[in-house]
Each structure stands twice: as C-alpha cells, then as structure tokens.
Symmetry: C2
Subunit: 192 residues, 2 copies
DNA sequence: TTCCAGGCTTGCCAAATGGCAAGAATTCAT
DNA sequence: ATGAATTCTTGCCATTTGGCAAGCCTGGAA
C-alpha cells in the first residue's frame, strides 16, 4: 500500500526500512482531483505531501496580476509551500492539481512530532529541504547563465512529462519567458 | 563577547536566551582576512558560519569559464554552502571575503550533535534553512517578473552596503546581466 | 453536431540586453 | 611616485525577447 512512500523515505539511506515503515504509518492517504487546489493563496499550508500519482502546478500572481508558474510537481516528489508551512504564515502561492493526484500527507503538527521524536526523520526532513534548496539554486544559476532555449532544452530533459500535462503558457512563465517566445523557441528547436 | 551570536539565535523566538548562551558556547571564533577563501571549489564545506563583521561573495564558474556571483553575505547572516555542507559533497562554489571578516563557526559534526541533542537548535536550524530557501525563491520570482532595472533598485534597497564592497561586475552577474548593461542601468537610474 | 473558449502560432515592430573595443578612471604593487 | 592591472563607462551594432493582434486549431459543452 505505502510501498512508494517507504521507498522514498529509504532512498536517502538516512532511514532504515523498519523505521521507514513506522514513519510511513503516520502519513494519511490524500486524493486531489484534477483542477482542485492543494493550497490556495492566503491560507496557511498545513499539508506536507508525498505525491505518488499525478502532476501539480505551483503559481503566484505578479504585481500586474499575471499568473506566474513558480514550480511543477511530479510523482515521487514532496509537494510543499515551504515558507507558509514552516512559518505558519499565509501562502502567497497556489498549488493546483494538473491531473487527478494521489499521495500521502502529514499535517504540520504530525510532522513536527516526528521531527522531534525521531532522529532519522529529522535527518530525512533536512535532506528534503536541502535538496529543494539545491534544485532551486541550480535553476537560479541557469536563469543567469543560460539562454531561454537552453533552459527549455533542460526542462525537456529533466521533466519531459510536464509537457503532456501543463499548457505551454505555464511552462513559459516557469522558464521566465512569454508564451510567444516559447512558441518561437520550440519552432527553432524542432528544426535541429 | 558572543552577544551578537546569542542575539541572532534568539531573534527567531525559537531559542530562549539561556539556551542560546549554551548553544553559543559551542561556536568558535573565526577570522577570514580580505580576499581569503572561506570555501574553495572542490572542497567539502565544513564550516557553518555566523558572520559578525565584513562581507563575502559566493561565486561559481559557468560552462564558458565566466565568474558568476551567486550570492553575497552581509553581517548578521549565516554563511554556508548548503549542498556541500549537508551532503558532504565537493563544493561547486567558492566563498571569498570581500573585506576582513569575523564570525563564529561550527563544524558539521558539531552542528549535527547540537541538532540531535537540542530541540531548540533543531527548530532554529530549520528556520535558517527555510529562510534561505524563501529568500532564494523571492529572488527567482524577481528574475522572472522584474526588469533588470527593478532588480537593481531592489538590491540597492535591501543591501546597499554591498555596493561599497563588491565591484560592479560581480553585482551585475548576481543580477543576471552584464557589467555593460548594469553601467547603463545605473546611468538611467541616476537621472531619476 | 455546432459553437465557443482556450491554447498555440505567426507577423510586425519595439524594447531590453549583449558583445566588442576603446578609453578614462581608479586601484594596487613595487 | 610610477607603471601595470583592473574597473567602469561609452559608442556602435547585433541578438534576444516582448507586445499586440490576427488567425488557426482543438477539445469540451450544450
């Protein structure tokens, strides 16, 4: 039943299979139907989710009211609005299911209890945060050093599935360009 | 002696003054002279530093060998290459003192011991990571939604002191533009 | 089936940013 | 103090990306 969750807890080698099973016991099953919001702007995130099936999109609005995609979530990843969840503050971001989703969730209180009670879970939790940070840093560096076309090619490599589930305009804002530019880049790119 | 460090541990309200003093006891004094490297590419970061005085620059090299500034550190901040420190992997980044620096440091082993032994320090450590993540996310959003001039104005607001310590070409790559463009942006900006 | 809305592409032109090279200004080591 | 190296600015032009509007295509609702 929870084998994917247990495997995920185990991969980092910070948690033994036995401990992983115990920890997994605290997670509860979650379903988020397509287009439903896992988190809405203005609310306090109270769900730490291991996504097992489906895809989600994270987005915010800029000062002009434009929808800006700040992230995508794919299966076997943690879905989390870090700032709102840990600081208990209102989220500035929305998280919406692009497809029907299933996963395993923890509330803030449940997570904190595990965090303090179980050394392995602390290490694991830190590892998840560190990985998210590192991923974002890599993305930041690519924004600085790469062209839009290179970033497009990179996304095509690391997360090809997202192109089947998110409209191109969302992918464009994630890449930091307009949908018009992405369309042209795709045209150029397909020639090669 | 360690009053700034203690104050820093205390500000988040996650650590009481008494506990802060105990925790501070484990930090050791560090000096980094101007231009010295706090961390060099290829080495494993083993220093978690609370910077009390001075300024530092974090940078990496892109595929063409260009120096890209990925961050700056100012007083009262934690200086840390997250990925290398926590994953015990070789750093891809360099951290160099822009001025003579002083601060308080912990090794990885010392940090981990405190992390597991002291609930308040765990909360505090998580808080530091969350804050770093949130700051980076905000910067990422500004890369997507703002013009170079707006990002320049933002940096001028949030960290004016850095302009006294880092050459403009470093600030330019941090903002994601060339030094030529930054020079022009400054010219336009000063007219207003 | 028909119609509508959203998504995607394209043409035209404007704006933002980059590349290169020269020169001025500043800093640094000797 | 002198010369060398670095930093910063500027002119010229190329490239990248954006803004807008039109048109096409497609999928879902009635």
């Amino acid at each position: 039943m929870k084998e994917n969750l247990i495997a995920f807890l185990t991969t980092s080698s910070l948690v033994t299979p036995e401990k992983a099973a115990e920890i997994a016991g605290h997670f509860t099953f979650q379903e988020i139907p397509k287009n439903a919001f896992f988190l809405e702007e203005g609310k306090i995130a109270n769900n730490y989710l291991f996504l097992e099936k489906g895809f989600m999109r994270v987005f915010a609005y800029d000062m002009d009211g434009n929808d800006v995609t700040t992230g995508f979530a794919a299966p076997q990843q943690v879905v989390l609005e870090v700032s709102s969840f840990f600081n208990r503050t209102r989220s500035q971001e929305n998280i919406q299911a692009l497809t029907d989703c299933e996963g395993w969730g923890l509330t803030y209180d449940e997570l904190n209890q595990l965090f303090h009670a179980r050394p392995e879970f602390r290490e694991f939790g830190r590892h998840v945060l560190v990985k998210a940070f590192t991923t974002l840093k890599t993305r930041m560096l690519s924004m600085i050093t790469e062209t839009a076309e290179q970033r497009y090619a990179g996304l095509l490599n690391t997360n090809p599935a997202i192109f089947q589930h998110a409209p191109l305009k969302n992918i464009a804002s994630y890449l930091g360009i307009t949908d018009t530019s992405l369309s042209r880049i795709r045209k150029e790119f397909s020639k090669k």
